[in-house]
């Protein structure tokens, strides 16, 4: 569960590009189709065809295929959940990195805009260039905290611009300075 400050709203949600999940989904579709192809090919063999013509064998194969489809369907959504919950939330005040490392492994880190030192965007390869996805690294000013890193993010340059605009806005804010009376007396002397 994400806890935002009062008045804080999410400006942008940043996730990996849809193509990253599409590759996994495509492999599951292949896994769903292959048994049908294999079963269709075996029907070309006469003895197997006559056995399948026996209703029980065909029904057994259909039942096994249904169970297989159910397993694939669940695997698809488990992976989709991992993909969807792995996100950067960019608010007016900070970046919240929600790193969904596994179904039971979740890491949440916050980084305020005034703590950002630099942002690096890397778009590598033909597919990344045409589909517009790449890696974003946000370097923090603190040596003790680790950098924020999101691989294969969608529209990385646009995200960099948004983060930088918020960072510049924070940097330009006028800081009020409190002067103590004894400091005033010291300057007079």
């Amino acid at each position: 569960m994400l806890h935002l400050d009062p008045g804080e709203t999410i400006v942008l949600e940043v996730r990996k590009h849809w193509f990253v999940f599409f590759a996994y989904g495509f492999s599951l579709v292949l896994a769903a189709i292959l048994p049908l192809v294999f079963f269709g090919a075996t029907l070309l063999v006469d003895p197997i065809q006559s056995a399948v013509n026996d209703l029980h064998i065909g029904s057994l194969a259909s039942f096994a295929y249904m169970v297989w489809l159910l397993v694939l369907w669940m695997a698809f959504f488990v992976q989709w959940t991992n993909y969807y919950l792995d996100v950067w939330y960019i608010t007016e005040k900070r970046i919240i990195d929600v790193d969904q490392k596994g179904i039971f492994h979740r890491e949440i880190t916050s980084l305020r805009f005034d703590k950002i030192q630099d942002i690096t965007v890397e778009v590598r390869g033909l597919l990344a260039t045409f589909l517009n996805f790449g890696d974003i690294r946000v370097q923090t000013a603190s040596e003790s905290s680790k950098d924020f890193y999101l691989r294969l993010a969608a529209h990385p340059e646009r995200i960099r611009q948004i983060i930088f605009s918020h960072h510049n806005r924070e940097a330009e804010k006028v800081q009020s300075v409190k002067v103590l009376p004894h400091e005033l007396n010291e300057t007079k002397e």
Binding site: F63, M74, W80, Y84, V98, I103
Partner: protein, 78 residues
């Protein structure tokens, strides 16, 4: 002439134990309930009320119930 090896298989003589198939279905159903529970928990807790999460949840249950219905129908027809 080489004999077809499949002719040696007495496939039609295989007797299918329906209790075994029902046990397999119940096992699959149990696994489905556990995974669905885990997914629902994550969507509810971390989904932030997202419309995509709601759509995914509805799609997941719609298709999985259809698959289970199909499996039960096939099993009852054996």
């Amino acid at each position: 002439m080489i004999e077809n090896p499949f002719m040696a298989l007495a496939i039609s003589a295989v007797k299918i134990n329906k209790n075994f198939l029902w046990a397999a279905l119940i096992l699959a159903l149990l696994f489905y309930v556990i995974i669905s529970g885990v997914l629902l928990f994550h969507w509810q807790r971390y989904g932030m009320g997202s419309r995509k999460i709601k759509f995914a949840r509805n799609l997941y249950f719609l298709v999985s119930v259809a698959i289970l219905f199909g499996a039960v129908t096939i099993l009852t027809s054996i």
